[in-house]
């Protein structure tokens, strides 16, 4: 599974993209976030923001959106275009 990070979150994590096999027990975005938080204190802190948005296959998703290993997941702070 490809996971992309944008904006401030990309800077906080020090990476814009990781590849990860979808682990057993990680069925939705909420569970993916919990799994990613185990990667270290920066991850724990950066991914705890309730305002964090997510997209699955380039469409806005929610915490309970289900995941497949072939998905492109993106995590990012609230958008500020326009």
């Amino acid at each position: 599974m490809k996971i992309l990070f944008f904006g401030n979150l990309r800077e906080q994590l020090g990476t814009g993209e990781i590849e990860l096999p979808l682990a057993p027990g990680t069925n939705n975005i909420a569970e993916l976030l919990e799994a990613l938080k185990q990667r270290g204190s920066e991850w724990q802190q950066a991914l705890s923001a309730g305002s964090l948005l997510c997209a699955v296959n380039q469409t806005m998703a929610t915490r309970d959106t289900l995941l497949e290993d072939s998905d492109e997941v993106a995590l990012f702070p609230p958008v500020t275009g326009g």
């Binding site: 993106a74 990012f76 500020t80 326009g82």
Partner: protein, 153 residues
């Protein structure tokens, strides 16, 4: 017709409007919004960087335009959004909507801007002249303004 562009290059607002008017005699009104890079904070702004999510950005703007077209009787919708490094005063965004009636054009243009501000994956980072930087924070008022359109449904 819906036309979407996400680009680093500047755009010609007059040309965009002429595209909306082009040789049509059923357009009653065109509502337009353009946004510029502001330099009104405490620290003088050097430039602003606009990061985006390639692919999703275009799809998101397309969806927003389609929602507007379902909601109001529109003729054409044109959205241009720039990315990359922009200087104070530079154009960021163009939203133009043509319709037979001005009410539909105004509503659709404002809806698209409100929706874009809360849904399109763009992030602004300000680079100040003193060397410091700051990610622009999303505004609660943008969320509230966008929520109005749900209530009106």
């Amino acid at each position: 017709m819906i036309t979407i562009a996400v680009q680093a290059a500047d755009f010609d607002t007059g040309q965009e409007i002429r595209q909306l008017q082009a040789d049509r005699t059923d357009v009653g009104g065109i509502a337009i919004f353009t946004g510029q890079v502001r330099d009104t904070g405490d620290k003088p702004l050097g430039f602003m960087h606009l990061e985006h999510y390639p692919g999703m950005t275009e799809a998101s703007l397309q969806q927003t335009a389609e929602q507007a077209a379902q909601r109001w009787p529109l003729i054409d919708i044109r959205i241009v959004h720039r990315i990359g490094d922009l200087l104070p005063g530079d154009q960021i965004v163009f939203v133009g909507v043509s319709s037979i009636h001005r009410e539909a054009a105004f509503n659709a243009c404002e809806f698209i801007m409100d929706h874009l501000k809360t849904h399109a994956p763009f992030w602004k980072k300000e680079y100040y002249r003193d060397g410091s930087t700051q990610w622009v924070e999303a505004k609660n008022t943008d969320q509230q303004r966008n929520a109005r359109w749900d209530q009106h449904n």
